[in-house]
Symmetry: D2
């Protein structure tokens, strides 16, 4: 039996503690940039860069983003700053470096002969992240709305990964879900989920019928006119990444209740978010390593 | 066409504003104990007891409880206290008085020749209230748990109205739900819902497998031994009315995370809670009035 | 370790082969009235009444009904008729006899000092049987209707065990389900399931809106007037036991498509039906034997 | 108000009667190749090619396939054969011709200056057809399996449109669904639906665990080895178009129960299938006609 390959998890928030723990089911895992309090799992060995006995690592796992400034590791639990290039001597030649949003740091790893892989670009990652995102959206709706989701008319804009998950979950809770989508095949899919559907360019005609409007489209689809059509006490929830889908100035001027919800997976379900990162990396490695399946 | 019958909604919290609004679809509704801010609906006429032009009312709707002290109306939005008996002269002879938890006030109404009906005792009311209760429980779980409900093992104790609704909703969200119930037919019903089931007297053997344990049984079923079996970081959520189902002293001593959640409908979904009261009263009146259906 | 208790399964159709097999996980099981072809499971020992080496049995399991004529065992796979009283000498004193619809045979067993238990009367049995009944109804609807259940308006009469299961399954398949029930609490429960609801006495006003009408109420609720209101090409499915819920003469005269579906569990899912009988008997024995749980 | 545009529906089976009926909500619709018995809807005007008073048509709707031999219209209800080119003089210059699988007939229409559009190629069509296909598969499973789908372990191969719909519907009915898919993102999506997932290349290791195996992948994925691994009494259902996904010779030799199910929408739900064709054509025309939405 071969010795286990070694993985270094460096930096990141609470999620990465769980990422490390899941990876430790398959690999020998060390972590830098954490304290025992954040990462209380005995399966993972805590270390600091100055430790003598560190092994050379086969794989390096970095957070999202890898670095805020292109130089230092994004490591909120670390008091002493770590330079990204400090990590390179710890790795075996040709080691695989996994991270999300490398920015300029990618070039530094590549020039040291390392392979760089962005797990954020994997479809598995975005697919799985739709679950915590939709649950985070449901949490906000339950907190903000004075009525039950069961029986409430809700409009979901967009039917991509997040839109379809959110629509499905809301339907499962008994909400009366309408999906607005540009593409007729998306609208057909929404009807398969038990939702009604309308063309996206018709939302102003329908927007007044809903207790909540949830946007998942990364484009300014909730215009001033839409805002005027939405019931004054309806909740508007924007899940689209910046700049978001709501006309901010108009919403302010009209006094509409808008909740912007970004990065929900890490906020509402850090353990699951960390687990998703680990699963995605394991599957990326599996492909590289010739199809050995890691049962996680 | 006959003139509409008249209803007086007296006292209560935010919910009763919505109760009044729904009743106003069928009746002429007046309200005392509210301000226009709480009850901004033009369909309902605000009044105070000293107003001259008040009609005599066919029905009186009172809150839960009717009175805290057996003398004064439970009217949190009213600065001047109202005595329950002050309401009697406003009613027609033999008028129907609806309320929840009348206590000693029931006798006062009855001795004035009025009929007293407790809507809390109606099965419709408790059936419908399971929806906001389950949604409130889901909200707390989403807030408190670091993982998604999707994929999380959850134990629900009891399979009555609330337990079955909660188990169904959690299953719909993708949780792996196990139901513990004393009665074998309840366990069979839980399996129909897609849940696993265990006998209630076996929970100590299984309790260590769950990320959350939700109790709906109004009896001390989560004993010190059960608490010791539950994972230290699992959420324990008690939905059972006082004294609740958790051994409080043991939970304190063991440092377990317990959330007691009472009266969820009014807290998490006041509009729906008010609507449920209105629907229940309408159906009670419908029966009395010879089966005329009120489409609400 | 004690020797296993012994069970004799006597007579019945295909279902009882599977009942015997499930019981054989816990007991030593023998069967009479079967051939190896019907009961190909090596866990169960086939025997005939004239065999010498038969043990004395702790429990006897009989079919539904126990006997057609009150004298002979209901044993369709047996060419030689077996008299019910022939079974008595095979049993230990005080043995437990399980069956469904004993009729006059109950007295014969009791007078021999045996205990008689009707598993058909157990709530667990009827609860679990709602699953194969609803699936059988869905099968008929899929076979008979020219449109998908998804998107079709369907009326379900009654919201007891079968009505609620059927309504839930149809809703899960995307049908637009309306439930007609007499009791307002049942109508409220139907709404919790995502269905619309109407009072049973209003069905004639609504019956014209549906592609299928499924009755689960054991009373003549589909009268001539209702039949006239139902669309001519709608499917009418009657799941209520004889005499059924449809005015047969009127249906004939009007030429309406009515499917009477009785005893669906045994017809559509004999294995599951047999398993349900076994589980119910195991739970009945468990209670008698002091709460030892049989994991099946 | 402009006069309605005119549509000719020519040939096809029962489905096209319903297609014609749905189109008649928006257009003036005539049909050739039908009898009043097949097409009893007064909204559609039956005609024969020799009729004098026929208008010139804006649109022509043809069946799947348009022609079996490349010359004559596929018109099973027509006793006199119709040549495809006979239809051309009935159309306005530049009229739009809709059909499925035109084959060589496309060239004939195009050379007459007509536009040719294949509705089978529309994503909306294949998306919506997944519903009747999945319901047809469920019907077959209910008919063929001796156990309920509720609680039965079922393997679905593939997670495209049909695989995902089928898996979702089976899960909704309470089956324990495992999805085998090549792509890790598809496996992740299957888990979102509440299913387990395995890599497609591992099916031989798992195939023995299921009561039914349903293939939706158009490639020979159920090999002799897989067939040997599948339980002898399990149902094998192949929904993939010819040549199908099962090694036919091996299945014969092994005596396995395989059901090949092709063209399920037209067989199990002709009305819905016709409606889907109509909706798809309406949306294709809508785009052409500048986004006027046809509410159907």
């Amino acid at each position: 039996m071969q010795p286990k390959k070694t993985v270094l998890v460096a930096g990141g928030d609470l999620r990465y503690g769980y990422t490390a723990r899941v990876l430790a089911k398959v690999y020998e895992v060390w972590a830098v940039g954490f304290t025992r309090q954040v990462l209380p799992f005995s399966e993972v060995q805590l270390a600091s860069l100055t430790d003598k006995g560190l092994p050379k690592f086969d794989h390096l796992v970095l957070p999202i983003p890898v670095s805020e400034d292109g130089i230092h590791l994004n490591a909120p639990f670390q008091t002493q700053p770590i330079t990204v290039t400090d990590l390179i001597p710890l790795l075996k030649p040709g080691a695989a470096v996994f991270g999300g949003k490398f920015g300029q740091t990618a070039a530094r790893f590549r020039s040291a002969g390392l392979t760089v892989s962005d797990y954020l670009a994997e479809e598995e990652m975005s697919t799985r992240n739709a679950v915590p995102t939709a649950e985070g959206a449901v949490q906000i709706m339950l907190e903000e709305m004075p009525c039950t989701l069961h029986g409430s008319p809700v409009l979901v804009l967009g039917f991509g990964r997040i839109g379809s998950r959110l629509a499905g979950v809301l339907h499962a809770l008994g909400a009366e879900v309408t999906v607005a989508a540009r593409d007729v095949a998306d609208r057909a899919r929404a009807e398969l989920y038990g939702c009604r559907s309308i063309p996206l360019n018709r939302i102003n005609a329908y927007a007044g019928n809903f207790s909540a409007v949830c946007n998942t489209i990364p484009a300014k689809v909730i215009t001033e006119e839409t805002l005027k059509a939405i019931q004054p006490d309806a909740l508007i929830l924007d899940l689209a990444s910046k700049p978001g889908g709501v006309d901010w100035d108009a919403a302010q001027a009209l006094g509409r209740r808008v909740v912007w919800a970004l990065s929900l997976p890490g906020k509402t379900a850090p353990f699951t978010a960390g687990e998703i990162i680990a699963k995605t990396i394991l599957h990326m490695l599996e492909t590289d390593e010739g199809g050995v399946m890691h049962e996680t």
